[in-house]
């Protein structure tokens, strides 16, 4: 069920995705495309660790759902914060 091969390949994927992020950090100007790539990368890396390193893929459904949800919500917040900064300023400014 939890084979060495899957853990090994997931570790390599995570390392490669980190290097991709580093490449983006050093070369690309932030635009919506970069924001989406970064958000998806966070979501994917989180999901892999939650499912395979924490082994929640076969564990209690409520814990698994909560942890997976975290890595949907945070990437979504990154995109929304980029798209609607004025709304955040309005909501967090005392009148």
């Amino acid at each position: 069920m939890f084979t060495n091969k899957s853990i090994d390949s997931i570790w390599i994927q995570l390392m490669l995705l980190t290097l991709l992020s580093a490449f983006i950090a050093e070369t690309a100007d932030t635009g919506l495309a970069v924001i989406i790539i970064v958000a998806v990368t966070i979501g994917y890396k989180g999901r892999m660790i939650v499912d395979h390193f924490m082994e929640l893929i076969h564990a209690n459904r409520y814990i698994r759902a909560s942890m997976r949800l975290y890595f949907y919500v945070i990437p979504l917040m990154i995109v929304l914060a980029y798209l609607f900064p004025e709304a955040i300023v309005r909501m967090t400014t005392l009148q």
């Binding site: 932030t30 989180g46 660790i49």
Partner: protein, 207 residues
């Protein structure tokens, strides 16, 4: 009879044998550690919300801030933490085979990775200082120091927990049939890695 024993043990979060792991009700490490993990994840979520709010108010500082940070240190720390998580996951596979020697070896590698993270982070803070960066430089660096120092503390006591697990394995406290305590340390360590997976792009990549 066997089924009843498995069910009772499973509720206590103690029996972590492969048969129990295959059930959808298994709670890795037991419920108490998950109370801690959810508390910590909430704490980090609050820091991320503070980041989003501060970035919306001071976009220039948050666009400029990451360019002044040592990206190499951030990348190396991400690679090191991912590797430490991998080592902990391998240690769990080893204990399930009752291979305590391999389990201890993987846990030591995880601690070495944790120690490497702490060394790199210390070097990064020193590098910042030589570049004239401190927590008072501007709002971006206040958020950066608060978030990364908090995370660094988690790596410190997480490493201590892994060390405790090593002694537990050596004492024979954890076996293929019963290793709930080791599993609790493992999922906590992975949580520390998860937090960094968000911190790294927020502070070092996004501009």
């Amino acid at each position: 009879m066997d089924a009843a024993i498995t069910a009772d043990s499973d509720q206590l979060g103690r029996d972590t044998s492969p048969q129990t792991l295959s059930t959808q009700s298994h709670v890795p490490g037991g419920w108490p550690i998950w109370v801690g993990i959810f508390s910590e994840m909430t704490e980090f979520a609050m820091m991320f919300i503070i980041y989003f709010i501060a970035k919306a108010h001071y976009p220039e500082l948050f666009n400029d801030g990451p360019t002044k940070l040592n990206t190499l240190a951030g990348v190396l720390n991400t690679l090191v933490l991912l590797t430490s998580s991998y080592c902990v996951a391998k240690s769990m596979q080893a204990i399930r085979r009752d291979d305590t020697t391999a389990c201890v070896r993987w846990l030591w590698l995880a601690i070495i990775a944790g120690g490497t993270y702490l060394l790199i982070k210390t070097w990064e803070y020193h590098w910042n200082e030589t570049m004239g960066i401190s927590k008072d430089t501007n709002t971006f660096f206040t958020v950066y120091y608060y978030t990364t120092f908090n995370h660094m503390l988690h790596v410190g006591w997480g490493s201590a927990a892994v060390l405790w697990a090593i002694f537990g394995v050596k004492r024979g406290s954890f076996t293929a049939q019963s290793h709930g305590g080791l599993e609790a340390v493992a999922v906590y360590w992975h949580m520390i890695d998860l937090a960094w997976i968000v911190i790294f792009p927020l502070l070092y990549v996004l501009r």
